[in-house]
Amino acid sequence: MIYLDYAATTPVDERVAEVMSRCLVSPELFANSASSHAPGRRVNQAIESAREQVAGMINAAARELIWTSGATESDNLAIIGAARFRSNRGRHLVTSVTEHKAVLDSCHALEKEGFDVSFLHPDEFGVLAPEDVSAAITEATTVVSIMHVNNETGVIQDIRAIGEICRSRDVLFHVDAAQSFGRLPIDVRADHIDMLSLSAHKTYGPKGAGALFLDARRIGRVAPLLHGGGHERGLRPGTLPTHQVLGMSKALEIAQRNLAGEPPRIAALRDHLWQRISTIPAVQLNGHEARRSCHILNVSVAGVEGESLLYGMRDFALSSGSACISDAAEPSYVLKSLGRSDQLAQGSVRFSLGRFTTRAEVDQAADAFAATVARLRDLSPYGLPDGMD
């Protein structure tokens, strides 16, 4: 089985696993960080120094970072928490139709509470025009939420330009960086980001660990979604999971350190894969050719049914849409927003590459893909389509 689904989740880096395993059995690190006795204070120090470290990676201060259970929770807390807390200033939000479900469903939940949300449409390459964000902002807008890197197509949004617009219009700007951290540099100050969601398991860290950055100068508070105990400045209660926090900070540290070397290597593999796959007739790239994160290659194949395509590739762990919604066999809403038909969206595959992907694996995937497409087209009454439908 060859794993090419790094955008769904990544294996935990050995060095991260070691930090976590040691933490789990450490007599020095098991206490509750909220306890005031010496073991508790020691744990608290470990957590706080991890906080400082992670915050530093995005050019933030430690007190601006809150630990959460993942990017899903971070997205919810940022969007719902900020919108509710500022609801007397206005009840309008701006986002895009290609956001992750955690963002879209948070917005839908707010709609039920009487908020208005503008869902902007990126262009056919998945790129959102900053001017469209600007045009959508009204007097009532309090929060704009735009992801950094799309989890299905890898498309990179121009968050700095959007951040500038939000700052100039005095609107809070939230960025879901679950897919981009460790693949692209992030500087919350330079990018004018007010809230940023991070997830550990997309960068070789543990699942169930995330963080939310909240700019201290711009955001006093958000309305918490969970209550009790006053942890995390009253914004996120619950005993802090030390091993998760230390694992996350180790994973992010490694990713940050590799930022100059790893993404280019992975991008080269991805380009090689695309070069090989693009020779197959009637195959189409989903997303922007250039503005795309190193790790994702999403292609649509005309005239081939999606389930059989994936089944033909079953020696490879691949995704046909976002892993988070792949249980539902509906065609991907992200691909449909690029103008793909139901059939083309269905007949699409996301290859996502990572730290442990080799050139040999990529070649095997390309071979298998070409063979599967050819075989299924042979079987099909439609044969090889003339053009893309």
């Binding site: 005239g303 081939v304 049914e305 389930e307 059989s308 089944y311 059939q343 079987l379 099909s380 439609y382």
Partner: protein, 123 residues
């Protein structure tokens, strides 16, 4: 998710293709599934039969199995093909029943086509 039998038939469909002769189809690309059968009859029995399919692995496997089970039988057997039996043999999940009914339709259309042409190659 996919039974061994589905895998076998999906991987090695011995009867893929198109014959001149009676044929019947059902479904469309837009609905995600299209199947087409074609056959030749000799001495009152199905002597050759093929299918083409645009669809999921279960559909492809069920087409292959249908052809295998029908070869050598009189053409009327196309009208009696049993989706339930196929579902059982291939362990096809209930939510895929619609695909089997499509196959049933295509086989019936094929029989009808044969009925109108009655082209027995031995004649």
């Amino acid at each position: 998710m996919y039974s061994r039998a589905v895998e076998q038939a999906f991987e090695h469909p011995a009867h893929a293709g198109k014959l001149s002769g009676a044929c019947g189809a059902a479904g469309s690309r837009e609905t995600g599934t299209r199947v087409e059968f074609s056959m030749q009859v000799a001495s009152g029995r199905i002597s050759r039969m093929c299918f083409q399919a645009y669809g999921c692995p279960h559909t492809i496997a069920a087409c292959e199995l249908a052809v295998e089970s029908l070869l050598g039988h009189p053409p009327e057997a196309l009208g009696c093909w049993d989706p339930g039996g196929a579902a059982e043999r291939l362990k096809i999940p209930v939510e895929k029943t619609g695909k089997l009914l499509l196959i049933q339709d295509a086989l019936r259309n094929c029989l009808q086509d044969w009925d109108t042409t009655e082209l027995d190659v031995t004649e």
